[in-house]
Amino acid sequence: MIDEATLAQMNERYVCPPDAEPAWREACEYGFDMSLVEDTLRLSPEERLERHQRALDMILELQEGCDSHAAK
């Protein structure tokens, strides 16, 4: 049996913890997905840079795809 809180986490977007610091809440309310930040903070700086590189590679690949599509 799945409890309501877990089900909400499955169905809904990131919910700022009730005890979150004001700075954390402000960033969350601004629209940042703080679950990504939480994930990132679990990594070492080197792992963060590697993850960033993968994300950047993907973005650049997509941009290249868009550019070549537009050129056709």
Partner: protein, 165 residues
Amino acid sequence: MPQNDKGLLLRLKEHDVEFVIIGGVCGVLHGISLVTQDLDICCRFTPENLRRIERALKNLHACHRLTANKLPFELTDELCVRLKNLYLQTDIGILDCLGEVAGIGSYDQALKRSVIHRMSYGEFSILDLDALIAAKEAVGRERDLAAVKLLRAIKKRNETGKNPS
């Protein structure tokens, strides 16, 4: 165009360039989840250090990316004295070298306000969180101020030592 930050950092390290990582990659190392498309560093603008940068980027077809004809990055004695910043494009990505950081000051001041991050391929000085926040606030663009919100949240999280749930 690729952007290989690790490749650029390795080359700078191998050639003993004196630099501090600033900007978006610095934010990434501190834990922000935003993607940045260049590598920004603050470095000492002495002829010796500029020559090190030149050697580090050898064979990468480095050019001054903001000049009309993308002039090749070829130092002269005159340029070594007169350059204050370098906005470079290379075969493995963009590298912006600044002589000063907004809100912080010169390379020496940036170095004083830096921390060392150890990676498997070397140790790198990066602006500490407070300095990065000050720098981004000084620049003041919307995207910088948005990043400040994340950085402040991370700073508070680091201070309280509260692990992500």
